[in-house]
Point group: C4
Amino acid sequence: MSSPAARPLPPGLVSLADHEAHARRVLDDNAWAYFSGGAADELTLRANRGAWDRLELLPRVLRPLAGGHTRVPLLGRTLAHPILLAPVAYQRMAHPDGELATAHAAAALGAGLVLSTQASTRLEDVAQAVLGDPGRGPLWFQLYLQPDRGLTRELVRRAEQAGYEALVLTVDAPVHGARDRERRAGFRLPPGIQAVNLAGRPAAPPPPLQPGQSALFDGLLAHAPTWEDLAWLQAQTRLPVLLKGVLHEDDARQAASLQLAGLIVSNHGGRTLDTTPASAARLPRIAEAVAGQLPVLVDGGIRRGTDVLKAMALGASAVLVGRPAIWGLANAGAMGVAHVLRLLRDELEIAMALCGCRTLDQAHGTLHSRFANTIYSHL
Amino acid sequence: MSSPAARPLPPGLVSLADHEAHARRVLDDNAWAYFSGGAADELTLRANRGAWDRLELLPRVLRPLAGGHTRVPLLGRTLAHPILLAPVAYQRMAHPDGELATAHAAAALGAGLVLSTQASTRLEDVAQAVLGDPGRGPLWFQLYLQPDRGLTRELVRRAEQAGYEALVLTVDAPVHGARDRERRAGFRLPPGIQAVNLAGRPAAPPPPLQPGQSALFDGLLAHAPTWEDLAWLQAQTRLPVLLKGVLHEDDARQAASLQLAGLIVSNHGGRTLDTTPASAARLPRIAEAVAGQLPVLVDGGIRRGTDVLKAMALGASAVLVGRPAIWGLANAGAMGVAHVLRLLRDELEIAMALCGCRTLDQAHGTLHSRFANTIYSHL
Amino acid sequence: MSSPAARPLPPGLVSLADHEAHARRVLDDNAWAYFSGGAADELTLRANRGAWDRLELLPRVLRPLAGGHTRVPLLGRTLAHPILLAPVAYQRMAHPDGELATAHAAAALGAGLVLSTQASTRLEDVAQAVLGDPGRGPLWFQLYLQPDRGLTRELVRRAEQAGYEALVLTVDAPVHGARDRERRAGFRLPPGIQAVNLAGRPAAPPPPLQPGQSALFDGLLAHAPTWEDLAWLQAQTRLPVLLKGVLHEDDARQAASLQLAGLIVSNHGGRTLDTTPASAARLPRIAEAVAGQLPVLVDGGIRRGTDVLKAMALGASAVLVGRPAIWGLANAGAMGVAHVLRLLRDELEIAMALCGCRTLDQAHGTLHSRFANTIYSHL
Amino acid sequence: MSSPAARPLPPGLVSLADHEAHARRVLDDNAWAYFSGGAADELTLRANRGAWDRLELLPRVLRPLAGGHTRVPLLGRTLAHPILLAPVAYQRMAHPDGELATAHAAAALGAGLVLSTQASTRLEDVAQAVLGDPGRGPLWFQLYLQPDRGLTRELVRRAEQAGYEALVLTVDAPVHGARDRERRAGFRLPPGIQAVNLAGRPAAPPPPLQPGQSALFDGLLAHAPTWEDLAWLQAQTRLPVLLKGVLHEDDARQAASLQLAGLIVSNHGGRTLDTTPASAARLPRIAEAVAGQLPVLVDGGIRRGTDVLKAMALGASAVLVGRPAIWGLANAGAMGVAHVLRLLRDELEIAMALCGCRTLDQAHGTLHSRFANTIYSHL
């Protein structure tokens, strides 16, 4: 393992898979188990990837391509391209520059950034580093609804004051999943890495249990957040709120009725509940259910520019990538994250050109039509 | 191989698959072939596992979870959770404490226990060990209809007097399957291990064969049990009788007409006839066929809490697990069995919470709806 | 390699797959390539096997089994069981006792025998060896329609006089397939092994070619046999004629209109044309097309008693196995062939019993009903 | 690696797959990466192959075969067989004799030849080498529409004057695909190998970019060819023009309305856009869309004579093979290419004979009918 701060971009990395293979060697087993692992047998982790692979693009020929571009509208802005960085905790475990490097790279490539509530860097420092960059993408803050409403309110205030432009509320992980790989590796946060934005504010202890009660249902989940808590959060902030972790149409429809700014179709990167459907398999159903009432984003297994194009074809307004940014970060700090983003965007442009697609609002026609009726059984 | 009686719970076992891998090292080849093997090419053995994996759970978000629990009603009782231990013969081959250890662990975790008629421990000793435990689950006795009705009647009397609360009649193994793995390993019962509850009562010799007759049909099966023998058994006992090994809807419907206490959808853990469907694939059809007239249980390949939730979603009233208890037993005696049960129950609670499912009567909604119409072709 | 004539039955062979693995070690590369190889990429060779595996049996319980048996009617006789030995050439290449050993084993186990026209033993010697055995199955002779009608007529006369009871006309191999494995191995008949029944009667040389003509179509196939030649053959003999190598419904219907004694659904063990359907996939269609007008037999990939039961369930009157007899022959001469047949028959009886099937005319009900409508897409 | 010019045909090559395995050893890593690689994860590269494998042929028996042949009509000529050599660039990288060897072999075997615009041999030299051969197949020239119309016009003039009989316009690669394998290998043209027909005519530099413009869309693709440019090309030449790289029905229909001489269904051998459908999967749809208005050819993954027959059955008028000719070339120069062509043609004749198919206009009936309705979901 080379001295991380001095890592230059290694030669020969021509795809995100190459970044992954290299990061495997750069990161120690502890960090690798944390960043790469999924829940239980990791079937959903693999399904996420396989679902994009199985979707087929149908090229077109001899169509006008000049002036094509990857720009998309989102929450009142025009983004240079539809690729955002998903929230990933403890990024200083991948590289000493951590979230600051990721944020700089995102800004340089015009990618939106969602900072994790469990970031290992102060949220104010991340915002300050990038808000002045005129080419940057959106800057959002991810959070969980804590049983302690005071803590939640304080995080929201800090995010607002620091300049974050939206809140991303993760709702698919009221409990930690069965992260078998982490547990087998005996994962522990390394010294000096912590969720600094929550520091000094430990979660309130769960209520005492009666005999026969469940430590989960009657303890940790006794105050698990509900739709009412979401309404409370919306009342606390002037920021738009997006809901992350929606897979069921009924939840999507309920969200659409609640003035939310967007949905993120996600299974938490396969890290919470194993054997859920791939997010790519749920995206078209969710997009259909909300019928354009609010933007739908998606994450999970996006590793190629073709995957981005397929997501847009299935109704996404934008996509998020998580682990690939960590691989780039581990491999070469900010330069590595930027390289990952550039590979994705270049591949997206090539895929658009070969599908005869000048702009992403033409993406719908790029998918092989046999999927029109059968996508759910094929994925 | 460490001295079995002194085995502590090995570190790093975070799933039933880990228990299996460890047990492979603890058990000798003879015992491993017996406990782990299936019939012929073991296609059904693998299909059992794969069918659960392919069923997809569809998470829900922001639903109230406080006060959730895993309790289920069964045969007039309320069980702490729907996980029972399936009958497995010769458990002292896995650990010197054998069936007693398994029974103690089941009682400690509130799991039902079905003692095998081929147990290597006296049925009275097992009953005595656990009947006084207030938190224990149901205690049932498994048996075959022997050609010798006197032997069957004696076993029933002993089970009744010892305090067993139901009889589980196994009907899917009138002949021993083609257990190729056992035969290749030259399996033999080790010295000191035997079916003590049948000891001294060898099966009656089959009738003498005429030339051209089949040793199977005209010999061993000349007195194979039929539906009439089942009626005779019911007349012999005041205990409820469950039928284990039903895969065909017509057999299920016939059973439902006969005052049975329950059905167990099972292919005998893939040990009798290879290339039968996975039990998970037959469960919804059987549940539909009996339409709630009697409880339907299922075993075969359940290795995750998610599998338990899926079984309940497909119409099961409870589930049984067999080999995993043997792995735990081999790895650490009663403590190992208890650990296996705890892992399963904890995973079940997590899966329920992530599916927004407070109680198991809500389980039906947790399965991805695309399976509603297509489950049979997907499994 | 042990001295072949003295090979006793090796220990530990409990299935036909075990026989195959052992034979791989006993036979040299030249013989192995000949006996085991298929056409081209051997996709059909593997598909034959996989199709039986994917068919699912649905067990029944508590049905009367006493007096069950495997007897089937065929061509006016009652066979002890429906398993025949398919024609395989040059069996002395597998064992010095060659076709005589195979014939003795077949007779001892009551299995029908089809002698190959390319046998390495005189057809009269084979007949003489077994015709006196009262328990033997049918004895048939396989032949090709040779461009030289005189040669064909002579073979027919010899077969009739020797006591053969039917002729099996192979029609699926007017040309040798692309036997890549044989060609890579540089297969050559060992010294002393030849098609003795054809000896001294080399095939007539093909007609001379004009420029631009095809060596295949204008040469070897200039006198390829047609339906007219079949009628000629039927006029030459009082023996019943079966057609071997039918996969298309239209060919089956034509055969049914021609007073043939039976059809054998076969793709020549995957040895002629690669990527044809598995014979198991064509069997039900062919059986349906001829609607009981004549018996339908099948070969290709049958390696388990469950496969035999499935074939009967799909409409077969009997089945043939080829390579497995060669494995047994290579492993232990006549005793090895007999062991292979015994394993198959024992497995068939077990499968029948577990499916609640006393006789093979009940076989239809043993297949999982989901295949009723979908068998063709599943295979 | 032996001295290439002196390579005799290696022994033991009995299929195109054998040629591939041998060529892997003959070629260095640089050339191998170029010739064998596909786009991105090479899913389409593998899908091309797998689609042919999964199509099933249904043999017929006892049909008249004498006088059968492989002749097909194409663009007013009668070809000895429907196999053409696809355009492949830089063939001198595979063998010093390069395109000349390939052309000689094609002529000797009566195969059509499509010379790549990026050939490493002058187009006039190739034409001169083969035009006098009376048994040769068609000679076509492949080109791209260059932004510099003068360069395109000059290439067309040279091709016309040299005697080429048609132009093949490749339209599926306006940009170079994500050739990850090439990039990982750091592919570079070896000294002395170049696109000699374009030498001295470098592509015009793309227009200068404004800030925020895309190097792809506003640069390289600013003058990407369109349907209008195709019309311009047709006006420049008296030669028939075929369009290569069509996968979408709408593009096929548009082509059919434009007096083109033919279409080539192709995904560029899986080298441009990954996760497009296999060409075999698109062929029947394209053939149906153009309804016989113009001939439809296909390439991509054809490695067996059975694949050629399947392509004809799905509506192709002829097929092209690319990489296999390069393998043969690398292995033994012209003799190797000729061997590859002979293997394919021999296999085609065998497949026809076994399917009871005397001529290729009977090919339609050879495919297993279950594909009639379901081909798209099976491929």
